[in-house]
Symmetry: C2
Subunit: 301 residues, 2 copies
């Protein structure tokens, strides 16, 4: 998986800080997560191919996570898109986008498919042979979901040494990966376990923004490889965090520690802070394996 | 008047070209004209004081003129704005903005006053002691208005030499500017004409974007000091201009020539062209006093 941060700041776009948007590259997908104003420019700046984006996940309908979406949908049309585009987001997103396009008398040249959400329970949103995406209900001022992305391998891995030893040809490889045994020319049947290794462990990325400190999410994110958790404020502004239903760096780290995740990435910094270094210090005191997001930064895991 | 171009490109925001927005500084007003995605960042980049913007004029509801408005309205709230904000734009703009704010459960901290337009006749939108703004109905794919801004002086100008000659004190100056005569101590009455000069001529700026070639606007813009007219295409793409109801550089220049304006500024360039120099050449063959808009450029007139 590659996680490309396009914007990781709260509230308003500024010359040097973008509102929330990120691209998760997972197997052959480029998933866009949130779409603040200016996201399409950041996609260009970071040389992301527009045509590879087929699924957009919107956590909630605050402007800093959503106001870039109408423009991006228009741009897809101007680029001559024909492929389906799937939008997953809170109920109301379809009405908003549809109204804007009705007023502009501009319709898409491609199927635009909305998957509107209003459940407070976790839901499976997307599934194919190698990827699953589900919601993580969060606690913010308005209805908000985080998203959990899992990359899994259903095929067993070929044990190259064993296959060579038995002199098995390539034409059998797919059958073996699918779990089949092989009958050799001399009649011996080689069971699948002797020819394969267990598939790689699934990898999990959880995106949780925006949310108050909310331990209810722990069962949904336990043990994920990477957790992106919002940290709008420092503990020194804990009152403000509580009031606005955001988290502090310390709270994000507490969630990471209690959910035993592999790595924590902090983002959604309030622009009131000159630089986010204090977020790292505050979080690492609780959960050492913490990194800071930054606009344009690429994480690989 | 000062005209600050924040964006002068068509269709989509890109890393090096912004969609339409401009600030007209006229007497003590900062009028924002159109508001494509990213306008609030351009306002910051160009160091425009947000608190001085009280009137926003939206020509039409295509995204490249409008999708920056919801974010800007939100940012005004985050900045603690309390003053009224007036939005002038096509009917439907209130419903769109209101829906977005309803979905975000975010309301403004200040009175947001919509002036919705649907008239196909020119209308006076704003008037105070020194400025008038009226619409210029245009011919585009959807309902669109240009705007004509006039700075006028109702007071006559003091003739300093004459006032000194008669030994008239400062306490009479406002009365004289208002058109009054003065009775000297020796009983002589000096008529206003001898103490004043005609007020400065009004100054006019006309903004016409987006529009097909549309000579109907000529009576509404005749003799303006500066005309900003869209030129999305070159004559080589005249067919495309016609189809999309845009203008070519040559058509914009023809309008400028026929309306006998002082100066033409071209903008709204399609990003299909590497650079807009050819627009200047094409227009100057018809109307020599033509300039090109550029993002960040400041015109004073």
């Amino acid at each position: 998986m590659k996680l490309h941060i396009l914007g990781c700041y709260a509230a308003t776009p500024r010359t040097l800080s973008n509102p929330t948007a990120q691209i998760l590259e997972i197997r052959n997908h480029l998933f866009l997560i949130d779409c603040g104003e200016g996201t399409q420019v950041e996609l260009r700046r970071n040389k992301v191919k527009f045509s590879r984006i087929n699924h957009i996940f919107i956590s909630h309908l605050h402007g800093d996570h959503f106001f870039g979406l109408p423009g991006l949908i228009s741009t897809f049309r101007l680029l001559g898109r024909e492929k389906e585009l799937h939008i997953y987001g809170p109920k109301g997103i379809k009405e908003a986008i549809t109204l804007l396009f009705k007023l502009a008398d501009s319709w898409t040249s491609y199927p635009l498919i909305f998957h509107e959400l209003d459940s407070k329970e976790p839901l499976l949103l997307f599934q194919d042979a190698g990827v699953e995406v589900s919601t993580i209900p969060l606690a913010h001022r308005i209805y908000t979901n985080g998203f959990r992305f899992t990359s899994f391998y259903s095929e067993r891995k070929l044990n190259i040494d064993a296959v060579r030893e038995f002199g098995i040809g390539k034409e059998y490889f797919q059958k073996i990966k699918n779990g089949g045994s092989v009958t050799l020319e001399d009649g011996r049947v080689i069971p699948n376990q002797e020819l394969t290794l267990d598939p790689p462990e699934p990898k999990h990325y959880a995106y949780c923004s925006d949310t108050a400190y909310y331990p209810d999410i722990i069962p949904l994110i336990r043990g994920v490889d990477v957790l992106y958790h919002e940290a709008t404020f420092l503990e020194s502004e804990a009152g403000l965090a509580k009031k606005t239903k955001h988290s502090t760096a310390g709270e994000a780290a507490t969630i990471a520690r209690d959910a035993e995740v592999g790595q924590l990435i902090l983002g959604h910094f309030s622009t009131r802070y000159r630089n986010p270094d204090s977020f790292l210090e505050e979080a690492q005191r609780i959960f050492p394996n913490t990194l800071l997001a930054a606009d344009g930064k690429l994480f690989e895991f």
